[in-house]
Symmetry: C2
Subunit: 344 residues, 2 copies
Amino acid sequence: MASATLTLDLNALAQNWRDLNNQTACETAAVVKANGYGLGAPAVARRLAREGVRRFFVAVAEEGAVLRSALGQNAEIFVFSGHMPTGTNLIRDHQLIPLLNSVDQMLRHFEILPGHPFGVQIDTGMNRLGVEPSEWAAVKDMLLSQGPRLVMSHLACADDPQHPMNAEQLRVFRGLTDGLNIPRSLAATGGILLGPAYHFDLCRPGIGLYGGLPFADASPVVTLDIPVIQCRDVAVGETVGYANSWTATVPSRIATISAGYADGLIRAMGPNAHVHAGDQRVPCVGRVSMDLITVDVTNLDDDPTHLQLIGRHQSVDTIADMAGTIGYEILTSLGNRYARRVIE
Amino acid sequence: MASATLTLDLNALAQNWRDLNNQTACETAAVVKANGYGLGAPAVARRLAREGVRRFFVAVAEEGAVLRSALGQNAEIFVFSGHMPTGTNLIRDHQLIPLLNSVDQMLRHFEILPGHPFGVQIDTGMNRLGVEPSEWAAVKDMLLSQGPRLVMSHLACADDPQHPMNAEQLRVFRGLTDGLNIPRSLAATGGILLGPAYHFDLCRPGIGLYGGLPFADASPVVTLDIPVIQCRDVAVGETVGYANSWTATVPSRIATISAGYADGLIRAMGPNAHVHAGDQRVPCVGRVSMDLITVDVTNLDDDPTHLQLIGRHQSVDTIADMAGTIGYEILTSLGNRYARRVIE
């Protein structure tokens, strides 16, 4: 292919799920929102179902519909955004379980789809999604009488184990739910690593499955190999790329590779980006273009045919550091133009 | 839809093409690489074909194949990355015209696909794609005997009309091609705005068609409306979002909307981002999450049902400024999860 090749290692993904599952005594679900963190929700979810996962989480009902087609009926699919005004048909037709976030959503759900399964998301301090504690007190008995499948909340600072917000959200969550006879979930990947107090009945890892921090021991799941279009000699004083942003100070050899920010290779990484030719690390030079990146291969013995951006030598979090962001954004930005190869 | 709605105004796109076309006396083609700068190459190209565009440009052969299906046989499709080792079948089967970038590509093309149409890209100083001037001298006569459809180069600094690189690249391009009887192209959007000296036989606008700078007079082509999931009161001292990065200093009303960096809303825009409720501008607060953004709607009279990120009040370049990047990256990052609506 003339495009770059994105390789998704489903065996590594499954290993990550098993490793996280082994850290808990409870059920371990999987978060496959944002198209499986950019890697392809159907393939990811089918492999995890083979590992024994029965509960999956998506962000919006449209994603749930795609997932239902991939998984068939033998899976529970929870929707974080809950029951949105226009989500009713999708929720009903694809047997999705909305995590109701507000009194508005509850009224909508019970009126339009009475008897349809649901869960509840409680806000324990992140102030982003979920029923407020004051509302919870008012609606709790009514909700419990309807038999929610799950009550959950989300940690705002779980990637930082030392952050006092973790214990505070745990305290609030327990205060709101202790003694209720409903399955509970608080932990995503970060929460799993905080220890058993955070695990409750169900953990729901996302980023850790895909090989990202805070799960430092994750197996890498993604490899990105980019073909070289051409190599050229650049003399001292010549510039490379848009806005003449790089100037050769020694006689240089420059490779132009076939991927850019339109492929999710965030433009901000330009000044810090490196790629690998086999085991040798070489710097990108000049600006990241829409479809192209220029690389200084002067120190290589031979012109490369491909250069690797993500893989054994550079994790998604290493790339994130280059771009000043987090591994989550690197994964979910990976684009549509790659040839996608699956190892399974 | 529970997802955000991305509206593509093909009438505005066509108007931008006509406005740019009116600035030149030569043929005006269209660049539709990166899936039409993220907006959907088939719809974009079909509309431009109705306006009279007959020549289109893509980055890689795979994109050319998609475009051929959309346009039928009555169009010329040029491929910037040229004839890559694995591109032969696509180039042949879909009658694509590779812009040969190197002696390697020329040898490959003439050996494997003798008689198949081609163009040539010359490097005039950007040192990214294209035949080096020294190589050009060596291969020019051979190339001319094969009848190239186009000889082109690309400007490194055309977004900055004052940059001396523009005149320098023009000088080099003319030095290499004056007097040859082949159609020539140097200008993309920025080059068109530099004036007639840069236009030659064919201009090939990209970003300007899609409403982005440097075409300051472009009509906006994209609107992005994001549904509100829920609104909540946040007391003084409470925090919002990941890492507790925003704290309420007055009693506040926070709306959580259904889009995030997995939808291409670059995470770096967080501290500077604003959205609009009708004509009222309101600030985003806290971090941009994968699927969610939190907005301070305290000053609105009523809870909004939708908030607009891109549209009449905020161009893609305004959003780019918020994120510390360029409009090109905002457009090409727009994700797959939107409900896409086309005005035509």
